[in-house]
Amino acid sequence: MINKVVSTVSEAVADIFDGATIHIGGFGEAGSPVELIHALIDLGSRNLTIVSNNAGSGNVGLAALIENRQVKKIICSFPRTAISVVFPELYRRGEIELELVPQGTLAERIRAGGAGIPAFYTPASVNTPLAEGKETRVFNGKTYVLEHALKADFALVKCHAADKYGNLVYNKTARNFGPVMCTAAETTIVQARKIVEVGQIDPECVITPGIFVKRVVEVSKPADESILVAEKRRYPWN
């Protein structure tokens, strides 16, 4: 029988191993699976490669994971924000690797990973430093750069509602990278604001079909990252 629901965030992330590559959803705070990330901090896996649009804010969530020195490398489009301090410091000291990827290329590389497409051509970044060393090719007179699929061992994603089959719906712009990341990881782990009965999600409105999800855990009152940052909270909790 299929039941992907697990009881706790620590159980949900328990098999994340040292050296794993992890897709982490979210665009800034919107969609960031803060509680799953904190569980990963508790777990302590190290040498991680993180794929995420940003590199965290303040000293909670993804920033706290980096601050805890669990992250070897980050693949992202925008690691710098007004309230990000952890990543910039480590980066300037040369203590964390950065692979900078245009946002649309990042999304498409992840989607390709989930869709069995090993590589594709895109016009983004052509003639810029981010295409240096990459293969280019002309189609119909326009130059494109070859980009490769980006898969992960795990995906940590936040959604609005889930059922025990792993069907997911999201909330507004918290959807962002979640659906493509769910498709592109060996093990997709989701925190949902609520678990609903099978059949309660309209089949026309399912955003992530359950086939892409391995585990779901209910986090009914997820933290708002920006509030934690404003309150200068720090994880592990200060």
Partner: protein
Amino acid sequence: MELKENSGWSINEMAQKAAQDIHDGAYVNLGIGIPELVADYIPEGREVIYHTENGLLGMGKVTEKGSEDYELVNAGKKYVTAIPGASYFHHADSFAMIRGGHIDICVLGAYQVSEEGDIANWSTGDPNDVPAVGGAMDLVAGVKTIYVITQHCTKSGEPKIVRQCTYPLTGKKVVNKIYTNYAVIDVTEDGLVVKELAPGITFEFLQQNTGAPLLLKQ
């Protein structure tokens, strides 16, 4: 020993054999024809979710006569139902599931299967036939495990399991297991390994009716 084409297992028994190899929680795509019967024989206590490549995960049974929904069909264009917990999606997303390796098992029919697991099931190569491929090439290239269900021989008695397919290929080295009316055969690195013989079928008879060398399970 003389056996008629339909000797050994019935198509329902073949489907049952395949069904026993589908694990609890599997995501499964069933090809058109005999493979569709597999759904009727999933052992008690196992929950299997069916994918149909035209955009539905959680396909239910074929619709009862009179309650057809013309906009709810399966890949064979039969009118079907959807289970609670189903989801609809567009064709590119559906084949992303297939190509991306998310479907656990696909059960297909075949014209021929080679000893290396090549499969031919889309074209007889007859120039008078209108060629049609559908999703067969995507399925064999993308699904993790490919089962073939087929009569062991053609209607004229030719082996369908061969050293090299003579029909145009659907995919190369993709088939994992073959369920025929005579036997269940694994495609392995070492060759074709017979896992089970139908009642009344001997290994010698099976070998005589197979175009590639067979090994007996240890």
